[in-house]
Symmetry: C2
């Protein structure tokens, strides 16, 4: 079998389960490209997955996500675990490929067969990122990775969506990147299970730490509900990583003991199913876009002869 | 008429066209809430709009967007123009309201009747932000504002969407917020007509300026096509704002002369119509979500007894 171009789903999934890195790469490429084999891949993986911890790691550009991920991988490897990393770029719809600029920082693990690192973008996927990412995570889990770390760049809707797909969401902040109000504006307070104040040796780190603790204190939560932890790190020197791993494991124990893990995963499956279904509808609408209908309607709207709601109604009538 | 609760669309639009700030506020609230009156508002505004310049202003948290907007407003006011500002928060789907933390910085203009400033979120709107924002901009244009400045926080898909809705997109960067590769990762290179290197008096500003110029130089463009300009500002001291206004006006002239303005606005209308139509479909799917169908499917997927593609297919069968 030539794995590089194969669509032989049972063979690929079998090889991936043996830990064959090329089969893993091929399966993720099929997932990323929204290949027609995707539903069969999903069906083949389903019975073998659903146990691995999925850790989301997110934050603004420049806070040190790659460095922190790198150190987390090192810590999990020391504990003898196989680790999968998905570095997802939700923000560049045009380039058709994730930029690998900072992947070089992860070269530490390039030759370790116990680590699988993959950058992915959301090009052309039915259901977008929120459908592709959990599928790619399942491929990694199928290959024996636990945990799977999903790293996403930027703040925004796409990030919040991805955070919703993780069991445990870690939000990185750095001093001098804007104050706590900025974090609140960016919606990260609501999604974080753990905050990392990275670059904790820099000016302003104490202020950032206190601000975040203050905002966590303001949040209402039921008795027994998880209270987000805040960990100080200097990831570039490996400082605070043990505390971060401990916080991640404490959150995992909370999820399991409280029954929240099952509830989260059911919600996650709901989102995933919804995204795939919505993607299918979107694709159908895209077909109409390439016809004359939408562009004619749009010209009318741009010229002020119609309005977008009337045009949308006309478009939907076309869909039926 | 009690404007605060009115749904009398002709009266509200009439009052807004006279510059009545309460009518403007009420119309934008109706737009933001996705009120059932929205299609009628859109129809009433359509004949009176489509001329005003829409300027998008965006960048990571902490780069100085509010300060720059504030200074831009001052410059446009000096030129005798009425100015509308929409500060859009695309990133917090949970809070149901934009956080007004940094709006205080715009208090300079709070008592100026020639300036209308409004924060908005994307709560519950049919078609999401990309449908609500241009409608709100039309309300401001209907009230005589030209330009309308749309300020968005963060980087990510939502931001890129909004940038697609502006005639001219200004991307703010600041030294020390991450290098040019980070900007490229965030997808901003593709959307910017003008770059502002803000806080240009800080260390690293020259490097940021050179990096951006370098990346612009690498881009391919057709003869006569706009080459993104880079402006250095220290917005907190008002420095570089005249140059920014000049760049915005040069871009406007380019858009008009090249015919690109009509082309962009038609594309914008296409996106808007598509978003409204997709929002209607999404709402219909949400109705199904609250039923048992989706949650039953999701439990099966979470337990590994089904996969999300099979479940999505079952869900879509339900929709028809």
């Amino acid at each position: 079998m030539t794995i590089r171009r194969s669509r032989d789903v049972p063979a690929l999934v079998g090889a991936a389960r043996e830990g064959d890195a090329r089969a893993v790469a091929r399966l993720i490429s099929l997932v990323e490209d929204g290949d027609e084999a995707l539903p069969r891949i999903a069906a083949a993986l389903a019975p073998h997955t659903g146990e691995a911890a999925v850790i989301g790691l997110t934050g603004s550009p420049g806070v040190g996500k790659s460095t922190t991920t790198n150190e987390l991988v090192r810590a999990f490897r020391k504990a003898g675990r196989r680790v999968g990393v998905l570095a997802v770029d939700p923000s560049s719809p045009f380039t058709g490929g994730a930029i690998l600029g900072d992947r070089v920082r992860m070269q530490d693990h390039a030759t370790d067969p116990g680590v699988y690192i993959r950058s992915m973008s959301s090009r052309g996927h039915l259901g977008g990122l929120s459908a592709a990412t959990p599928q790619a995570a399942r491929v990694l889990e199928g290959a024996g990775c636990d945990p799977v770390v999903v790293e996403t760049v930027g703040v925004g809707q796409a990030e919040v969506e991805i955070a919703g797909l993780a069991d445990t969401t870690v939000v990185l902040l750095a001093p001098g990147m804007g104050d706590a109000i900025q974090a609140a504006k960016a919606g990260v307070l609501e999604i974080a299970d753990i905050f990392v104040v990275n670059k904790a040796d820099r000016d302003g780190a104490d202020t950032t730490y206190r601000d975040i603790q203050g905002m966590i204190g303001l949040g209402e939560r039921a008795p027994g509900q998880w209270r987000p932890r805040v960990v100080r790190c200097v990831a570039s020197r490996g400082e605070g990583i043990d505390e971060l791993v401990e916080a991640i494991e404490a959150h995992r124990a909370y999820l399991t003991d409280s029954g929240e893990l099952t509830a989260r995963r059911t919600r996650r499956a709901e989102a995933e199913i919804g995204a795939i279904a919505l993607g299918a509808l979107r694709a159908r609408m895209q077909d109409l876009r390439s016809g004359t209908t939408l562009s004619t309607l749009a010209e009318e709207v741009a010229a002020g002869r119609s309005d977008p709601y009337a045009a949308a109604e006309a478009l939907l009538a076309e869909l039926r």
